[in-house]
Symmetry: C2
Subunit: 147 residues, 2 copies
């Protein structure tokens, strides 16, 4: 099992970050404008759609201002069964986000792509909260010929 790990510090409160991870408006503001479902519904499923496919995430843990945990129940084969883990903590004027996309079976080339792309979307989340404007798909920053 191999993991994608990232972190960003956002000049904000953990509550603001938690809102951006658990509301449709928040999620649509940094990841993809085509976000469906209720991010605050434990056990429910969020659907994220992109030009080239999408992901269905079951919400398996919600701890306000501290953690959001999703499990991938549909999407690319390599993603199914993996977990997307958001851990939040306040450090002075920064909300610290520790991000882990855990449980990849193999470090395939697609995992390299997804790692870089997650970083790009974390910077979009940071920008959304700090400036009011993120860069969600379909207007996301492209990193290669695939996406």
């Amino acid at each position: 099992m191999v993991d994608i790990l990232h972190s960003v510090g956002i000049r904000s409160s953990v509550d603001e970050v938690y809102t951006a991870l658990t509301t449709t408006e928040g999620l649509a503001g940094w990841w993809t404008t085509d976000t469906r479902g209720d991010g605050d519904n434990l056990g429910g499923v969020l659907q994220f759609r992109f030009e080239v496919g999408g992901f269905d995430m079951k919400i398996v843990e919600l701890d306000s201002g501290r953690r959001v945990l999703w499990e991938v129940v549909d999407g690319p084969e390599e993603w199914i069964g993996t977990q997307v883990d958001w851990e939040l903590g306040q450090a002075g004027e920064y909300a610290k986000v520790l991000f882990r996309h855990r449980g990849w079976r193999e470090p395939v080339e697609f995992m390299h792509h997804c790692s870089t792309k997650w970083a790009v979307f974390l910077m979009s989340l940071k920008s959304l909260i700090e400036t009011g404007k993120g860069a969600p798909a379909p207007d996301d920053v492209k990193i290669d010929d695939w996406n």
Copy 2:
């Protein structure tokens, strides 16, 4: 052992990317303006300096247009002995860069930070080659209160 994995596609040739990884001018154009040493000298040491410290990398493999491999010989304790591996391949009009920072002993919080920051610098490399302008330190994109 855990690894940081990334990939980007650069609208260019592998030779142009190789040049950006093996010349002082190239390296200073996307990573840090304070780059010293000769990137094309197998067995030599490159010194990269930032406001908050730096890294010394021994050049352990050079395969023109295909691979560059560095080993960290000085820098933060967590980095020493790790390897930074650049694998290049042409895919149509894109030069594909597979990046691996291998051999971290533990997935510490600092590794999360470095993973995201590497993605930011890979986007700087992409920008340097595609537009002529990268974002090397000290004018790099900051991701948190540390850097």
